[in-house]
């Protein structure tokens, strides 16, 4: 499978360590290539330090310094358009509509089911090499 040769890289931004580790393991088991960050600023910093762009973003909606949506909007503001998935526990349907209006591809509920995650990521990232080069970051 082509995915085996070019696994989709996923950047996970999650403030809670246990969830971060669990999601990393799940992504690995799903054959994805995860990289993990504890906060939005940490991810932005990694990009500034020359880290390559992942194929997609998997963001926690609620984080102390910067929410998932704020990180997404920040990146969009800088011209970085990555397929973005946001997951949350408690936001209602109106939140989903808002997220989608802001260009978020997928909206997932916690706890995250592996098949559903894989399905959402493959839908969000049409080809393994998809991605938009960074501009002005």
């Amino acid at each position: 499978m082509s995915r085996q040769a070019h696994p989709i890289s996923v950047a996970i931004v999650e403030d809670e360590a246990s969830v971060r580790v669990g999601l990393r393991r799940l992504c690995e088991a799903l054959g994805l290539r995860p990289s993990v960050y504890a906060s939005g600023p940490e991810f932005i910093e990694s990009l500034a330090l020359g880290g390559g762009l992942p194929d997609c973003l998997l963001l926690d909606a609620h984080m102390p310094q910067m929410t998932g949506l704020e990180l997404h909007l920040h990146l969009v503001g800088r011209g970085v358009r990555l397929p973005t998935l946001i997951y949350t526990a408690d936001d209602g349907p109106e939140a989903e509509a808002r997220y989608r209006a802001c260009g978020v591809c997928e909206y997932l509920h916690k706890p995250i089911c592996g098949d559903r995650l894989l399905e959402a990521i493959t839908r969000a990232v049409p080809s393994a090499t998809a991605g938009v080069p960074a501009e002005g970051l």
Partner: protein, 698 residues
Amino acid sequence: MTAQHPREAAVADAGLVPLAPGLLLFTPAILLGNYLGAVLRYPEIGAAVLFPPYAILTAALIATARRDWIWYILVGSIAHFIAHWPQWSVSWVLLADVANISRALTAAVLLQWAFGGPPRLDSVRALALFVLSAVLVAPAVGASLGAADVVLHGGATTYWDPWRGWFMSNALTGLTLLPALVLTVAGMPSLWYQRIERRRILEGILLTVGLALTCAIALLWRGRHPWHIALPLYSPLPVLIWAALRFGPAGASLALTFVAFGAIGAADRGTGPFVATATDANVILLQVFLLLTTLPVLCIAAVNSGRHKVVQLYHALLASLQDHVAILDARGIVLEANDSWRRFAETAEVELFHRVGVGDDYLEACRAAADQGDETAARALAGVQRVLRRESRRFEMEYDQGQDGKRERYALSLETLARPDGGAVVTRANVTARRQALMQIEEQRRELSHLARVAVLGQLSGALAHELNQPLTAISSNAEAARRLLRREPANLQELDEILGDIASEDQRAAQVIRRLRALLKRGDTHLQPMDIRELVSEVFELAHAELITRRVTATALVSPDLPSVLGDRVQLQQVLLNLIINACEAMTSTAAADRRLTLIANVDARNNVHVSVRDSGTGIPAALLERLFEPFVTTKSEGLGLGLSISRTIVAAHGGRLWAENNADRGATVHCLLVSSPEVALEPPGPGSTHLPSFQH
């Protein structure tokens, strides 16, 4: 002298008697008075033995409004003219009238000023004030003018003789007729609703007959016998004292007037003891006798009336008490018991040691019952002994009494009698209803507190879902990862081991969240235990963690490392802190996200109490609400019942602490919570020692 009381001044202003009925009564009285005055007049001294118009006019002035006085003075003057003119020259009558008016005005004004209204003769002091005003000063004023009148019209050669005559006659009037009239007039408003017993009327008639008889013996007896001097002088005295003791100052004064008229009549007829050679000597003798008799009799009447009022008040007070009250002397003998006590002591349901009445030994009754194994009596006995020995001022206990079907709760209290002879007052009250009400209030308070707690958790529901979802998400991600790892060959056993370890610990974490929630949601009784505030704060912060994140609030806890432990109920104190944190968050809704700061500071104050403050950077509290913020249903929020802070204050107060709020100097507000540190028991495991913790109900 008594300063005028505003209410009494108002009475003096309005008057006890309206003008029309006042004049209707006054006119015949003053005409009769002037007629009597003329009859009783002795030409030799230019004055009457007794001068009724003085008493009548003064009584009228005291009883009426000052704006009406002019009418009474006018009518009085006309009556005076009718009685004396044209026998006497107009100028004489005029000046005499001026003297009469001045005397009555002086007496009325002085009496009103001294008594702040109608005079009461119920103490020696009151009597002294009355004598000074109406018997000394006012007659002296009248006599000074009257004597001048007599001298001016050539009625006397010396000023002193007519002065003495005028003075004596009016002083005597002031002591005999005036008190009777003034007290009758002052008592008039209450006469309408006072029921006069038939026995009193009968006693009054008997008294009058006795007075008439003794006066007859004293004054009309013509015979000569060995007790000639003593008998006539003293025979009316017992009857006068009877009048003084049973009918008060008014009755005594009336009786004295009766004797005075009798004595004058006798002197006129030339019988009785007052028959001297010269008429004026006769009159003086008579006047001195009457003055000397009047004073002690009025004194007795005044003292007894004062005492009678106090005793009446005391009995009325005792009788009006719903509680059962008995007064003990220093040995424990019942001196007095009110009706409630007596009625209850006769009933079957009363405990043995309370079947005592006046004259019984209460202490002995307690002891006898205690000896028979009555524990309530034993407790009461110990308390009664302590109070009677003055080892303590007060003793209180509660006990249940009655058959199984109908048990009532009683409160027994003893208070030392503040008097040299000692003794105590026993009060027994049925407090069943009060206790039930208290228990109901307690139950409702617990219910409300629980509801408030549930409401707090309701506010946190979103955040709490997040809190539970975190471990669940971690568990499910790990589990799915493990399942997929297991399908691979060869399975990475080490990683699987790590994953399973993480799943187990995340499960524990979820269970912990549920445990805490359950504790807060449960309706529990109060469990007091020494608590570490540091632990409490960290638990509360964990509960509020997700809420703080959602609300974008940067929260800091600064807990001093050397905090003493606090005796308290964990759940209730968590509720308070959680409430304060949520309130702080809500106060910062309109604050820019970057400026939303919440700081919890916990430290020790000078008295070793724990001071926890929750500071926010929100809108602050409107000054008008700062004091009322802790009242129920007062809130600064558009939503919410306003019960959180009120219940929090109740909880903290029940912990012996204090909860208050203030606005910060820069922005936002700080709510302070002072908690009493638990003495000595600091963080020792709660064991049998915890039974003597301070009583605390919530």
